[in-house]
């Protein structure tokens, strides 16, 4: 059984069928690419997978568990974490706090423990700080841990979003155009980081990307969306040589 099994999900906005008959099967440990032109419905797929939208049909199974119709919080707790196409950080909080918020459900103590500053508060906070710093180290953000998130340069903000998502200890990581707005150098570095994360944490990743070349470099499987429909699905090499795909992309 694959880690993520999606059967025939779909959703409409008004008269627009934004996604239809979408299916995907992602094995544990895979780095999977979701590509397609502007407005194809890629982000909408992410929003359905994470419970922002409820699909009007189809089912989503994560690790055998049916998560269709659950809300965003429950789905994160079930094991899906994501980043956003337009960065959504806790911008007034520090870089460290952003990651610690990701750890919220991993390391717990009650509100009262916090207000009364019971010993458990100090103990858990210390563990949280250590764990968060470890994660920040992976993303080379440990030296800016006390910066306000909003003051980070763009590339680092994107990395911080991934670090925060990783802090929730997900089974599946969804990255929505992580390289958007980055220069070629930053992009290359980011792709290396993603690759590294996958190796180090044995993470399963579904990645949205605009740029064909970029995904073909690191993803072993691809799904191509066009006007809400799956145009082509399979091994990267096969997809790239598919005449339909070539047509859709050259026709742009």
């Amino acid at each position: 059984m694959a880690l993520l099994e999606v059967h025939d999900i779909g959703i409409s906005f008004g008269g627009l069928r934004a996604v239809d008959d979408f299916q995907i099967s992602i094995e544990k440990g895979q780095l999977y690419g979701l590509i397609g032109p502007n407005g194809a419905g890629k982000t909408t797929v992410f929003n359905i997978l994470t419970g922002v939208y409820t699909p009007d049909k189809g089912t989503i199974l994560l690790d055998g568990q049916n998560i269709t119709g659950k809300n965003t919080m429950e789905i994160n707790r079930a094991g899906i974490a994501r980043t956003f196409q337009n960065i959504r950080l806790f911008h007034l909080l520090s870089v460290l706090d952003n990651v610690k918020i990701g750890l919220h459900n991993q390391m717990q103590y009650s509100t009262l423990t916090g207000v009364l500053r019971l010993p458990r508060y100090y103990q858990v906070e210390k563990e949280m700080n250590e764990r968060a710093m470890e994660l920040l180290h992976v993303f080379e953000l440990d030296d800016v841990a006390d910066y306000q998130a909003t003051n980070l340069p763009y590339g680092k903000q994107r990395k911080l979003e991934i670090a925060r998502a990783m802090a929730t200890n997900p089974k599946l990581l969804l990255l929505d155009e992580p390289a958007a707005g980055m220069n070629p150098n930053e992009t290359k570095e980011l792709m290396e980081t993603i690759h590294f994360v996958r190796e180090k944490f044995d993470m399963t990743i579904l990645l949205i990307e605009h740029d064909m070349k970029l995904v073909s470099g690191i993803c072993e499987q691809l799904t191509v969306l066009n006007f809400g429909q799956i145009l082509c699905q399979g091994k990267t090499a096969d997809v790239l040589h598919d005449p339909e795909v070539i047509k859709a992309y050259l026709g742009e």
Binding site: F84, L93, H104, T111, Y121, R164, A167
Partner: protein
């Protein structure tokens, strides 16, 4: 819900992030207390100002409560005078009923405080349940309406005790058919509650402020506080990392209302009679408290308190200058606004702070 634009307001503001900064605020409160006590003892404080000491504590408390809601939760409330009102009447009612059975003033006040705080918290919770689940400007509107409704309800609420026991009526006092001889009014409609025990004093006010500060500071700098601020900064991202949004919003709003309720209890026991009028518990008061919070700096408890104190003192100090009073008051408002929020002034203060820091490190070296 009404998101206060923190991005704009907090730019360049440090708020009170560091634990040292928070400690300084606490120290400041204690220092002010000490100095004021000294001045009072040596007879340097006019009776006019002495009469303002408790009200200043009251407004500081309510402003701290509101700042938790506006600054940390990021939700606008225009009904905190309503929670203050609930606290005031509940507290005064309880202390009046129990006055004969509890001899010790402090104990009596504590019981009244607990009751007032609990009732304000309950109201905060009940208001928040339907409203916080929705999106949009509902909270601001509903809290505004709540404050007005509470005030009006209390104006038509009658509770009295006579030889036959307790009686209560809504809008029609005659229906209680009281035995006039032995009647003791507990709440007499628009006349409110009279003959309240004078249990509040400056010391109790300061202790309550310190307590509220410690609770809010500790909350903000904890797992739950981070969650609250995460929800404020980006609700969608907060959901995506598995935070229970509704739960934290309810909790924070309830606590915020409870602190305002404590302010109300303190307020009531400083008066012999408490009535619910537009000036003390109407939306004017809610907005005045919001002014304290915004002027003092959203998210800065110290700022809220300073604004509350200054703006309470000012009209009284200026009383002699009749015609110019409101003019000066407005000028001070504008000046404070500029000092706190103008980009140039923020830059200037930053520069000063940096300079000061540098000097200090040089001295230390």
């Amino acid at each position: 819900m009404a998101k206060v634009s923190l991005k704009r307001l907090q730019k360049g503001k440090t708020g009170e992030k560091g634990s040292r900064d928070k400690f300084i605020t606490l120290l400041l409160v204690v220092a002010v207390y000490g100095i004021v006590q000294l001045l009072v003892k040596t007879g340097h404080v006019s009776s006019l100002i002495q009469g303002l000491l408790v009200p200043m504590c009251v407004y500081s408390l309510v402003a701290i409560g509101l700042n938790l809601c506006v600054g940390f939760l990021g939700e606008l409330s225009l009904g905190h005078a309503g929670f203050m009102c609930v606290g005031a009447f509940t507290g005064a009612f309880v202390s009046k009923v129990l006055r004969d059975s509890i001899g010790n003033d402090l104990v009596l006040f504590l019981v009244a405080l607990l009751a007032g705080v609990a009732m304000a918290a309950l109201f905060g919770f009940l208001i928040a349940i339907p409203v916080l689940r929705l999106k949009g400007d509902y909270l601001a509107i509903v809290t505004l309406a709540f404050g007005e409704i509470i005030k009006n309800i209390i104006n038509v609420l009658y509770i009295a005790k006579d030889s036959n026991g307790y009686h209560a009526a809504f809008s029609d006092a005659k229906s209680m058919q009281l035995d006039e001889e032995s009647t003791v009014w507990l709440i007499n409609g628009a006349k409110g509650i009279n003959r309240i025990a004078n249990l509040s004093n400056f010391t109790i006010g300061i202790v309550l402020i310190l307590l509220a500060l410690i609770i809010v500071y500790n909350l903000v700098d904890s797992r739950s506080g981070r969650a609250i601020m995460a929800i404020r900064d980006n609700r969608i991202a907060a959901e995506s990392v598995g935070l229970p949004i509704t739960q934290y919003k309810l909790m924070t709003f309830t606590l915020s209302a409870a602190i305002a309720g404590a302010g109300g209890v303190l307020y009531a026991h400083n008066l012999s009679t408490v009535t619910a009028t537009p000036t003390n518990f109407g939306y004017n008061m809610s907005i005045l408290i919001l002014v304290f919070v915004v002027l003092g700096g959203i998210g800065s408890l110290r700022g809220s308190m300073i604004a509350a104190v200054l703006l309470t003192l000012l009209p009284e100090v200026l009383r002699g200058m009749k015609d110019y009073r409101m003019l000066i008051y407005s000028i001070v408002l504008i000046a404070m606004m500029l000092f706190n929020w103008a980009p140039k002034s923020i830059a200037f203060r930053k520069q000063l702070a940096a300079k000061w820091k540098k000097q200090k490190t040089q001295e230390e070296a």
